[in-house]
Amino acid sequence: MPLNNEADATQNELVQLITPSGERRSNPVYDRWVSDVDGAALQALYEDMVVIRRIDAEATALQRQGELALWPPLLGQEAAQIGSGRALREDDFVFSSYRENGVAYCRGVDLTDLLRVWRGNASAGWDPYAINMAPPQVIIGAQTLHATGYAMGVLADGADSVAVTYFGDGATSQGDVNEAMVFAASYQAPVIFFCQNNQWAISEPVRLQAHVPIAHRAPGFGIPSVRVDGNDVLACLAVTREALDRARTGGGPTFIEAVTYRMGPHTTADDPTRYRDANELEDWAAKDPISRVAALLDAQGLLSAEVSDAVKATADDVAARLREGCISMPEPQALDVFKHVYSEPNSWLERQQDSYEQYLTYFDSAESVNTAPNPSREVSR
């Protein structure tokens, strides 16, 4: 199946450019995709990962303090999200699940917007067209079809933007993800399927979803695929850039399996101690995405106390702004519940809204005047 020789050659091994201990490993295929990443660029990737981990920790704390109803932590997946997210162009479009807050950060999301959904103040935190990223998708895998359709539109427009869809190992069992790959291959749509295999779909291990490495499925659809060390930010950047280039130049879709680990719970409502071994956590802690870059920077003399302190200060500042934005978020108003169901007037909804407004007004007036008429006794004849 000579779909893509480069991808085929590396199919069975994980693409890794930085080892867990922080050594830069050369790779004849992928080095060229990150040849421009100098010390400053590596420092920037490091800062991004530190900041997003700090955002994640702060949001988790906000949930524990009752300020958020729920939060889906990304702890452990920083490299997969920052590496791929920083590869994208502004005019590319992201369709993600609910855990891609690191990707949203790369897209330039307003910090407060990250929390609106989880505080219960909105069903989507941001205007998708403002950052070219759809809101978090909760239905598992549904967004992969949206990305594919968007990419079909890009193709029809003659543009060279790329749609990138993020999903997990669990999603690969969904029909939608498989249908998306059929459509993407048939129309040669410029879409990247970025699967973060974080080993767990809530309590279900990846072996329940797939008996072969997930990346091996894609060639069966006619889509070249690659397995990458999802805890290696440089490798994630490299494979995403390669896939983007393929998509922009008419080469169609690519499937990336970023092998990583969800160090935290599925969400703040989950208790992973019920289903997974503490040893497993230790093994993956040794492959931490941030500490390996820190070690590499340190070895290159690029992580002085000054740099380290500056990164920490940035992260603390972001966390403080996140918290402030959360707590000062304005409350939604009662009648907002009816807004935007339709874009055009709807007689059914107008009637219900009208009744509810009357109902609210009735109780407002009943509080001040006990003799207010009871509207339910008015009968239309």
Binding site: L145, G175, S347
Partner: protein
């Protein structure tokens, strides 16, 4: 003004919409070279190209989900579901994505999607080819649901559905595809609204509400009833969500009697919603409880029995007799009011 079949009128409406807006794209199974299994898209791929009339893989969720993606990109997709019973694989995308995206994104993302569904029975087909699933969708907020009953409406309303910034399910009564009618292609699209019900025949004794394939049957029933001295007002709803209750209410305030007929199963169906809403709106004008003449609460039967399931002229007239308190199929049973 020209005479054309129902199916041809939809085709002409699609063609007009595609001419007027380059963002209109058609998607579906077999809709390209074949022109669809009912030939509704006949000739459109040849004239507009395969980039605007897409034959898709056989995956309804895939069609619907990619149509959502195209809408994100600014397109106005028109999706054909080959048969009513094939819509269920796309149910999740319709209910969770198509219907909710505008609300979810606080109006930032519009989904101006039209979902064409040939629906209803009467064509002698095997299972899954004759269903009436409209109530699943009228119960889903965020969707507009319409049904057409004649070539002129078919021509106009397909264009109105496509022009709407909201997602619209457009239910086509497949057993009427070959019915011919006059179509005025020069009509002003803004002169009528797909949201407004149409009084088909005026009457003073009974209001008979229906839509889609049963409109001609209801009209025939009104003619038969008039021979019997009963004046029936027939209303074609056109829009099933939202329903133009003002038009139905106005009629019932005049007649005091309401019969609703549809092919879909009775329980939890549109007839129930209409009966409840009209009772709420004008209870004191009713001379009799509203009567529903509908398909039974059964899976769609094999074709040799389908005409027992489908309301026909006689069953509708029996319903008219019930609401008038005249002798009817149930009145012979002691203790049971019609």
């Amino acid at each position: 003004m020209s005479t054309m079949t129902f199916g041809r009128a939809i085709n002409a409406g699609l063609r007009r919409a595609m001419e007027n807006d380059p963002k209109v794209v058609l998607m579906g199974e077999d809709i390209g070279k074949l022109g669809g299994v009912f030939r509704i898209t006949d000739g459109l791929q040849k004239d507009f190209g395969s980039h605007r009339v897409l034959d898709t893989p056989l995956a309804e969720s895939g069609i619907m989900g990619t149509a959502v993606g195209l809408a994100y990109r600014g397109y106005r997709p028109v999706v054909e579901i080959q048969f009513d019973g094939f819509i269920y694989p796309a149910f999740d995308q319709i209910v969770c994505q198509v219907a909710k995206l505008h609300y979810r994104t606080q109006g930032h993302v519009k989904v101006p999607l039209t979902i064409r569904v040939p629906f209803g029975g009467g064509i002698g087909s095997p299972e899954h080819h004759s269903e009436s699933p409209e109530a699943y969708f009228t119960h889903t907020s965020g969707l507009r649901v319409i049904s057409v009953s004649n070539p002129q409406d078919a021509f106009v309303m397909i264009q109105q559905a496509i022009a709407s910034d909201d997602p619209v399910l457009y239910f086509e009564p497949k057993r009427r595809y070959h019915v011919k009618g006059e179509v005025d292609e020069s009509v002003d699209l803004n002169a009528t609204s797909m949201n407004n019900a149409r009084v088909v025949t005026e009457g003073s004794d009974v209001t008979l509400v229906t839509y889609g394939p049963l409109v001609p049957t209801a009209r025939d029933a009104a003619i038969a009833a008039s021979d019997d001295g009963v004046s029936v007002e027939v209303i074609d709803l056109r829009s099933l969500a939202p329903i133009d209750f003002a038009t139905v209410e106005k009629s019932v305030r005049k007649t005091g009697r309401l019969v609703i007929t549809h092919e879909a199963a009775q329980s939890g169906g549109l007839g129930a919603e209409i009966a409840a809403s009209i009772t709420e709106r004008c209870f004191y004008h009713l001379e009799h409880a509203p009567v529903r003449v509908t398909g039974f609460d059964i899976p769609y039967p094999y074709s040799k029995l389908e005409f027992h399931h489908l309301p026909d002229l006689d069953r509708i007239l029996d319903g008219v007799d019930r609401v008038l308190g005249r002798s009817n199929s149930l009145s012979s049973r002691s203790g049971l009011e019609g």
